[in-house]
Amino acid sequence: MRTDRLAPWAAYCIVGIGMLIMLAPFYFMFVFATHSRTEIFSLPPPMWFGNDFLNNLAILTKKIPFWRNLGWSLYVALASTALTLLFCAMGGYAFALFEFRHKKIFFGLVMGTMLLPSFMNMIPTFMIMDLLGWIDEPRALYIPGAASAFGIFLMRQFCASAIPRELVEAARMDGCSELGIFARIVLPLLKPALGTLGLITFIASWNNFIGPLVVMRSPDMYTLPLALRSLQSPVDTEWGALMAGSAIATLPLIVLFVLSSRQLISGLTTGAVK
């Protein structure tokens, strides 16, 4: 029975150390963001915040159009979230509450693409965007993203459980148009799920690297991840500036996550848990 008494303490220690390991890199990202390159790589390395943040920011904005890149990241993430929410809510509602021909096959097809590895689309997507003349155009990022199989899945699940058929029928009897039903009844009921999908889409777009890597060619059009990675160089990386940029790119995510971690976690694992 000794193990039984020991177990909770051992558990607290192990879980605690694990948490430190998970959080330490974030801590150092913010600490390094406030130190110059020479300080970061001195012995002992900095463990507490310094006062070079503004210097780092100055180097950063001199080397790359940082605020412009941040603007594109924000613009693409917002546009992609808006489109995804609208199209996936419409599609999910259609799949959940209507019957139409080949519905099952079609839904299966959509779900099948959810499992498709991301590298499969890399090359043809570049060629299609080239063909459309969308290279260096932000819409090359947010328009394809709006056809999210995951979004359709999430919305269909939620519609099936949260929208009573009787309510839709009753509105129809009262003479409400079909689009009116969608706008006035379905959308308001979908609010919690829209919140979750919105968060997930925003974060995915903000972090997206492969997409912009393939279609954004000029540094003026880079989104943040691309811009940051362009600062990496084999010989002369401005680490302080790079850390400051990474910290600024990471901060909004940490804030979003702290505010909504439960909703986000359950949204991101829905497919798995059900």
Binding site: T3, A7, A11, Y12, V15, G18, M19, M22, L23, P25, M29, F32, I40, F41, L43, P45, F87, G91, F98, T113, L115, P117, S118, F119, N121, M122, I123, P124, F126, M127, I128, I143, P144, A146, A147, S177, E178, L179, F182, N207, F209, L213, L224, P225, L228, Q232, P234, L242, S246, A247, A249, T250, L253, F257, V258, I265, L268, T269, A272, V273
Partner: protein, 306 residues
């Protein structure tokens, strides 16, 4: 504003129209196009007219390409070394959290999950500074261990050139991948543990089973479907590894291509070496590998029926 009147029969088609249009153009068409490309040779500079059919040449080229095989080996190694420990660590961790954390649980789970939602690029950049040879934090840490009596013998005697030494680049990438995804698995297992009926544990305790026995005889067997699911996700995810390897090797695959995953290689094949046909063929070959391994994992972990 006057909206057009739709009948309930037409409505689903109208509702699905925008999604389907995008799905066909940007989801299905690229797939078909990539299959078509895999059988073509094409010089991107000379326009689309310059494509010509070459049969299975691209596939044969890929299969005879030393770098392609090397990238597959790297990918397999990384998937295994970053994937298996994730589950070996996530399972007991989830069990600890499940048993001992009640009020703090959300905070704890949040901390473990955070790496999963933050930008891979920002994180990989940070890790490349941690892994740097001179005074990178990881080497400084190893230096401290080196001075300890017994443990010191276990770590390399010289500062490790993590990102440039072909022997160390893969462990560096695997560390980053492990750190990023272990929390996701913790969440999966915690969710599954919550569905195990409490009276099972009570009955076991009555019979005198300790915590360890409860873990091995109740928790683990009940989690089997989730373990199957989680391992499949790791296998599929591990074989697609791109960003972590791309950033840590500065987009080139590392010295001696030791950190080049297949996804990185096919990106380079297309965008550095301008061979879109061969790159497409490689993506289909990798896709077949992913499919096969998913099927194998499926067979290995599915509870056998009959």
């Amino acid at each position: 504003m006057k909206l057009p009147r739709l009948s309930p029969r037409q409505t689903p088609y109208v509702l699905l129209l925008p999604f389907v249009a995008l799905f066909v153009v940007f989801g299905l068409f690229p797939l078909a196009f990539s299959l078509f490309l895999a059988f073509q040779t094409w010089e991107p500079t000379s326009g689309l007219g310059a494509m010509s059919f070459v049969g299975a040449d691209n596939f044969l080229f890929a299969l005879q390409d030393e770098w392609f095989w090397k990238s597959l080996k790297n990918t397999g190694w990384l998937a295994l070394v970053s994937g298996v420990p994730q589950h070996l660590v996530a399972l007991p961790l989830a069990a600890f959290i499940h048993a001992s954390f009640k009020r703090l649980r959300n905070g704890v789970v949040g901390a473990y999950f955070m790496p999963y939602i933050t930008s891979t690029v920002a994180i990989a950049i940070l890790f490349s500074s941690l892994f740097s040879t001179d005074y990178g934090l990881i080497n400084v840490g190893l230096q401290l261990i080196r001075e300890l009596p017994l443990l010191g013998a276990l770590v390399p005697a010289q500062p490790v050139d993590w990102l440039n030494d072909p022997d160390y680049i893969k462990p560096a990438i695997a560390t980053l991948v492990f750190w990023r995804y272990v929390g996701f698995n913790v969440v999966l297992y915690l969710a599954a543990m919550q569905t195990i009926p409490r009276d099972l544990y009570e009955a076991a305790r009555m019979d005198g089973a300790g915590r360890l026995q409860q873990f091995f005889y109740i928790t683990l067997p009940s989690l089997k479907p989730m373990i199957y699911f989680g391992v499949t996700l790791s296998v599929v995810g591990g074989l697609q590894l791109f960003e972590e390897a791309f950033i840590l090797t500065q987009g080139r695959g590392g010295s001696d291509q030791a950190g080049m995953t297949t996804a990185v290689y096919l990106y380079r094949m297309a965008f550095d070496f301008n061979d879109f046909g061969a790159a497409s063929a490689m993506s289909w070959l990798l896709f077949i590998v992913v499919g096969l391994l998913t099927w194998l994992t499926n067979r290995a972990f599915r509870p056998s029926k009959a």
